[in-house]
């Protein structure tokens, strides 16, 4: 299951859907909004999604994980909208009979979701500037250290 959520995520509520007496392992992952990125002090961020295609591509990634690994459940929920520091941006929960598949499937899901799902992140900095992450180009006024000019 992959879905977008415009409202705050509650890990305890989300984990309830994982309960399964066949499962011997449960791996969850939480992606949090952190206060620094590439040396800049982050104030808040916005996630924007292309909902139809994000949910299609997310569902494909979940299906791939289920094919590659022996898992019982694989859930991923991603926030959209305005998030403050410390808020939960993405939650994943995977259950399996054994821990190896649960860990690997969870890693696969988050890595593929970050690389493929059409969701964009705009960081707002303490100084007032804001930047769409991964979209910097030559000549941009806001240049992040560590990225090629």
């Amino acid at each position: 299951m992959f879905r977008l959520s415009p409202t705050p995520l509650n890990p305890a509520d989300l984990a309830q859907a994982l309960t399964d007496e066949r499962a011997g392992a449960c791996v969850t992952f939480e992606g949090w909004v952190r206060s620094r990125n590439d040396g800049q002090s982050v104030f808040a961020l916005d996630y924007e999604a292309y909902p139809l295609l994000a949910e299609k591509e997310g569902a494909r990634i979940v299906a791939e994980a289920r094919e590659k690994f022996s898992v019982l459940a694989a859930h991923c929920v991603h926030r959209t909208g305005h998030l403050a520091i410390g808020e939960l941006a993405v939650w994943l929960g995977v259950t399996a009979e054994h821990r190896g598949d649960a860990f690997e499937a969870c890693r696969y899901l988050i890595d593929e979701a970050k690389a493929r799902v059409p969701i964009w992140k705009k960081e707002h900095y303490a100084g007032g500037a804001s930047v769409w992450i991964n979209c910097a180009t030559r000549g941009d006024h806001v240049h992040l250290p560590g990225q090629p000019a």
């Binding site: 992606g31 295609l53 180009t137």
Partner: protein, 80 residues
Amino acid sequence: MKNLTIRYFAILREQRGLTEETLTTTAATPTALYDELQARHHFTLPADRVRAAVNDEFVAATASLRDGDRVVFIPPVAGG
């Protein structure tokens, strides 16, 4: 000539100043359409950093556009 609907997200939405428009164009492919839009609206992302979707599915940059298609250009993603 064909009529297309174009939806914009994220950096392209901001640079275009709107979320959706309809356009009459001779552009045969997403790449040709992006070149046309980039020239008109000064999008900063080069064509090779933007993916295309037509009718809510990813397509190749060289796919054929048809009358009535709904096109989205996808800037580099940054979920997670």
